[in-house]
């Protein structure tokens, strides 16, 4: 497991915990992250639980008349959301590999997740 980056400035943690499309939670989470960076906040974005399903690259969301959450997520670094993590235990349980993902997502253990949330000024869970 890689070491966590040392975060000097105050930051907020945004956890996305739901699979895409059946609810608006995944999109709402993404919009919250973009809104936060727009006002200069440092955001740590973490995929937790079923949220890791958003990282499946082969999504064909147009079949259910949705825009691809994966494509939106891959633009996060362009909006200054560069600290992106995925819960290792969820990746294992859901049989998802980070190798195929086209943007930088780092694995994070449950202990590291607790640690990073404990030091955040706010934790938002979607």
């Amino acid at each position: 497991m890689s070491d966590l980056p040392v975060l000097q400035n105050p930051y907020i943690v945004i956890q996305t915990t739901q699979a895409p499309y059946s609810t608006s939670d995944a999109t709402d989470c993404l919009e919250a992250a973009l809104a936060a960076t727009n006002i200069g906040m440092q955001v740590v974005y973490i995929f937790v639980g079923d949220g890791v399903y958003q990282l499946l690259k082969a999504q064909q969301s147009t079949l259910i008349s949705h825009k691809s959450i994966y494509k939106k997520l891959s633009a996060l670094p362009m909006f200054d959301v560069e600290l992106i993590f995925a819960q290792t235990s969820a990746l294992t349980t859901h049989h998802i590999s980070l190798n195929d993902i086209s943007f930088a997502v780092s694995p994070i253990s449950d202990a590291q997740l607790v640690q990073i949330c404990a030091k955040a000024t706010q934790v938002l869970v979607f």
Binding site: A19, S22, Y53, Q60
Partner: protein
């Protein structure tokens, strides 16, 4: 009788699967496919094609993908339908 599962909660269909009933997976239910097929190899599992491909999950052997019309037909043929949403 046929079961429809709309959420990623495979435990909620366990009792039906133990009786060998067929299950249709749709919406977030498609994410339960892998564990259900592994746990109940003798049951028949269907998934609504569009929902399954939208998820980005890989194709699975023993999972029958059906169109919307085939899903309606299945429900009509195997009535009554039990729907598990959450």
């Amino acid at each position: 009788m046929i079961i429809q599962l709309l959420s990623n909660t495979p435990s909620k269909v366990a009792a039906y699967c133990e009786q060998g009933l067929s299950v249709i997976l749709l919406q977030n239910g498609v994410y339960a496919a892998l564990s259900l097929i592994a746990d109940y190899p003798k049951c028949t599992f269907y998934a609504v094609k569009n929902d399954y491909f939208a998820s980005g999950l890989p194709r699975l052997e023993n999972l029958i993908l059906v169109s919307d019309m085939q899903w309606v037909d299945l429900c009509a043929q195997q009535h009554p339908v039990i729907t598990i949403q959450q």
